[in-house]
Amino acid sequence: MDTIVLWLTNLIPQMSEPVARLVVHLVYAGVLSFVAPVVVVVAFTYMERKVIARIQDRVGPNRAGPLGVLQGLADAVKMLTKEDITPQNADRPVYNLAPGIAVIGVILIYAVLPFAPGVVGADLNVGVLYIVAVGGIGTMAVLMAGWSSDNKYSMLSAFRVVAQMISYEIPVIIALLMVVLVAGSMQMGEIIAAQDVPFLFTLPLAFFIFFVATIAEIGRSPFDLLEAESEIVAGFHVEYSGMKFAFFFIGEYMHLFVGAGLVTTLFLGGWRGPLLGNVVSDASLFGMLLGFVYFLIKTVFVIFLMIWVRGTLPRFRIDHLLDFGWKFLVPVGLFGLMAVALILKLPFLSSSGLQWVGLLVANVAVIVISLALVSMAARRSRSVALRGVAGADR
């Protein structure tokens, strides 16, 4: 931000520094809330549909424009011109507010997401806490939508979502705690600066927990119980149509991008990459562009992983989903957190290289032990179930 402010004050000498800062902030906020949704939704719905089509041995959209690239725009026009049907019994103020809150809640997370060196809305010193806090707004929007529609399916969906979101917020917090512990700061910029080795390689456990829990927080398959078509029609947005539905859709894809962006920032080193910082100065314009390209490559890769997961795994059942959160991710995360804290205080691991190896070993150990315990428990419960069947036969 400071670089851009400086550039603007040099460009227009009459402009004082606070005014320039305000202008830059306004423009950046406008880009985040008007340009980003369009670009993100058009690009990633297209990518998702193409990739899913490939996984399912189909071609995917190929009519609107060359290779179907204009499909997103065609959908946008359709959404805009579609009649808005409000059910008779709906609680109108709440019903109308919900889509807006859903999309605003997601855009607010973008404020702390660093896209390139120096390009971040507000590098808050409580960045990580801010993400968790603002991320909770989406849950409220879903609950509002489900409740106000006066539809039993929406209602079921809304309650499921609340159970799911609050269950998976705990693993997110625990994974973030591990990152904060190693980085020693909640500020996104400092977390990136601490990743001389990306945290993916020193904290694989935290990465796994954060990745899974982020998919659950976004509400994507295999955690898409909130809109399980075969069970509850379309979940909380059954009664929404036209532009109001479109805002839930925009919110979902914006959340997908910011979720992948956070995985990138917290575990893959954010905008860091080769050449940047030693050959190319990261305060220069070219450095910013290069950083943005690195960020984009990593983020698109993470989104690709999420689409791949969606194309591969079947949907969870609600009890399995909650069990996976509470009885696996939370205890494993808590033990992982203790292991990380212990490693950081071991006196013979004082050099940073040794510390990284120690963290990696501790993380892998926790993963291996927990997987062994789970497979043991699974074998036992299976043999108990088999004995039950055998007993019933007799």
């Binding site: 606070p18 800062r21 306004l26 906020a29 406008g30 809330s33 949704p37 959404m79 805009l80 011109t81 579609k82 009649e83 808005d84 409000t86 059910p87 008779q88 019994n89 889509p99 807006g100 999309v103 605003i104 855009i107 607010l108 973008y110 404020a111 507000a122 808050l124 010193n125 806490l129 801010y130 968790v132 529609s149 539809n151 039993k152 399916y153 929406s154 209602m155 309650f159 159970a163 269950s167 917020e169 705990i170 705690l177 904060v180 512990l181 020693g184 700061s185 909640m186 009664e239 036209g242 532009m243 109001k244 479109a246 805002f247 009890d319 069990d323 509470w326 203790m338 212990l342 205080k345």
Partner: protein, 119 residues
């Protein structure tokens, strides 16, 4: 005027709330509006809906919410600890491990009690 870090968040709240207003406003200009009672009835499964959806709901969601509150407070305590960890003496590790173990015990208790069982 001092523009602190949080000013941007404030600006973003205002600008972002213009997006749904602009979107819905523009859509209301171009979209058709022909309501009728059948269209506006509750869409459930093709049959007329019986009764409201606003009924009393199962309490089991509420128990998950209660457990969540415990762990959310844990976050409030542990985040400052995690930030300051590098400057803290060895006994911070002991304190935190004790705290986390108490949480693990609480989780084990809730688990044993069957509050985490979906029935």
């Amino acid at each position: 005027m001092v523009l602190s870090e949080f000013t941007f968040v404030g600006i973003l709240v205002i600008v972002a709330s213009l997006l749904p207003i602009a979107g819905l406003g523009f859509a209301s200009l171009v979209r058709p509006k022909k309501p009728n009672p059948v269209k506006q009835s509750t869409y459930e499964c093709g049959i007329e809906a019986i009764g409201d959806a606003w009924v009393q709901f199962r309490a089991q969601y509420y128990i998950y919410a209660l457990v969540f509150v415990i762990f959310d407070i844990e976050a409030v305590f542990l985040l400052p600890w995690a930030v300051a960890y590098n400057q803290l003496p060895l006994y911070a590790l002991l304190e935190a491990v004790l705290f986390i173990l108490i949480l693990v015990l609480a989780l084990a208790y809730v688990w044993r009690k069957g509050a985490l069982r979906w029935s």
